[in-house]
Symmetry: C2
Subunit: 331 residues, 2 copies
């Protein structure tokens, strides 16, 4: 009897809540997007794939959306933030490496001459990554990266790197997830570096981050097992490699893919070539005032062939200057 | 006004539904498990990690559970089902390969002499896998594997392989998911073979299946991009490799891991060594009448060192004969 009375009271409380609620307003899910073509294309696409009983309907488990990270979800100029992190680490670690003073690219990095250091090309970068991203456990690296991204400020905007994410993309990620999409990062950046901030910054858990990675070694330190990061590249997650990783890790073709450079060309091509409704998008960095402007000639995030293909294939190109009314989240 | 009236009607309907509902019965979530130690350990563990405000509480995103597949979620005797699939494919493809009649291990497989074929060891197996798992697109392979698993019946139980899954494990997967866990397969088997049935059989989507894999090549066939399966091994997901894959793909240490063989030892060790409440479990195949009985001397699913470690570390060992009152789902 008391149980039944309790249920009745609970039910009456619900009546009150529902009857007293004001009618829901149709809120704009993408307020930082201007009402231009890209926003319309996104909203039309989501409406199309979520409407049950239509030929374009896509069941929830198949609503896979993949996003590049550098230049798509957060900024990437004047150098990839992960490089800035590595160069900072070199300076910090240099006290324990007196030999670096006479050894490139370390000597230049200690002097703060990044251009000189990068003149050593890929070989120099591999040396820097080996010195800063290996020889420690995965847990140690995570702690170090997490702290740097949260606290270190970039030179131009004077903001912590963790806050140099794009507000319109945060809204898009939320909008897609609210419509049953599973959002993945598919980045050329290091997977463990991205995981150190992706959950807080984007709401994307570690198992939905795909990136480049080095080899790992499982070993015992006394009784305690640990994973050691080795100075050897395992997966390079760029261009063709992004499609291969999508198949290996997700095992399902995305229905939406978003990139900003030629490194994303194959991911967009693979996504767009699937059956049924598909949406392929590119961020075009056109706003030197609020962010950066670069494309065909940039040494970072070069957008050249993919821009031509976007025109030919009618992919959606987001013009940052015209299509976004905000860039970074308010602080 | 009409809107308000509609909301009131809806609310009254909810009152009726709630007030009329009988009190919920506490249903047993694991009816195929006897009330022995393993079931008690599982239920106590889930209660512990899901109780907010206690030191052992684990937030939902961190409730990662990993399961071996062969011998843990479905049967694996007298040979791994994926081998049975490969051997069937050899017979089917032999019409197009007259040279196989004089070439081992193919000649023996065509004659149905599996023991003879396996005498060629690892090299023979690699040849069979190359002939049956490569040289086609990922989509073609998926279709072929899906059809075989769904329709082909095993020799002893005369059931389709898709139904040789363990009923108690299906209940456990559902129970964990109902308690906010994300369930992953971490198997030595081929990732694409497992994905061909894991979603239907276990409710585990492709992106939560981790397995061994071969190399893939992204290429264009005319205008159409495709992923070709190459005859080269990429990832061997066994022993140490399971821990490395967990870090690479999930990026988070499981709080529960379930295996059945020495190939799962490191996964259980890594899981159990994490901070806070952890549960490591092994299926011990002890039931020759209803399924199979094997452990230390088996050539498939050998359980030897992990059984010793389970005793030393107080891992939970499930004795199939005593702890499960059903093996396979009712047909």
């Amino acid at each position: 009897m008391r149980q039944a009375a309790g249920r009745l009271l609970a039910a009456l409380a619900i009546v009150w809540l529902i009857a007293a609620a004001p009618p829901a307003l149709a809120q704009d899910p993408l307020p930082s997007w201007n009402d231009t073509a890209p926003k319309k294309a996104i909203i039309a696409f989501v409406a199309r794939v979520t409407k049950a009983g239509t030929p374009d309907f896509v069941p929830v488990p198949q609503r896979i959306a993949t996003f590049d990270n550098d230049g798509t979800l957060w900024a990437e100029q004047p150098i990839y933030f992960q490089f800035a992190f590595a160069f900072d680490r070199v300076k910090l670690l240099s006290a324990g490496h007196p030999e670096w003073k006479n050894q490139e690219p370390f000597a230049s990095l200690i002097d703060g001459n990044i251009e000189n250091a990068l003149a050593g090309g890929e070989e120099a970068l591999v040396q820097v990554l080996a010195a800063t991203h290996a020889g420690m456990t995965t847990e140690s690296f995570d702690r170090i990266a997490r702290e740097w991204i949260r606290t270190k400020r970039d030179a131009r905007f004077k903001r912590p790197y963790a806050t140099l994410v794009y507000q319109p993309m945060l809204e898009l990620l939320n909008y897609l997830r609210a419509n049953g999409f599973k959002t993945f990062i598919v980045s050329g950046g290091g997977v463990e570096f991205i995981r150190a901030f992706a959950e807080d910054a984007y709401g994307i858990p570690p198992e939905q981050v795909i990136g480049s990675s080095g080899r790992l070694k499982y070993q015992m330190r006394g009784d305690v097992p640990e994973l050691l990061k080795l100075p050897a590249v395992d997966v390079v997650n760029d261009k063709d490699g992004k499609v291969v990783s999508i198949q290996k890790v997700i095992g399902r073709r995305p229905i939406l893919a978003f990139g900003n450079s030629d490194g994303d060309l194959q991911m967009l091509e693979w996504t767009a070539a699937g059956k049924g409704a598909r949406l392929a998008l590119l961020v075009h960095h056109t706003d030197a005032t609020r962010e950066w402007a670069y494309d065909r000639a940039s040494h970072i995030g070069q957008l050249d062939k993919a821009l031509d293909l976007a025109v030919a294939k009618k992919w959606t190109v987001v013009d940052m200057k015209n299509d976004w009314n905000a860039i970074f989240p308010k602080q």
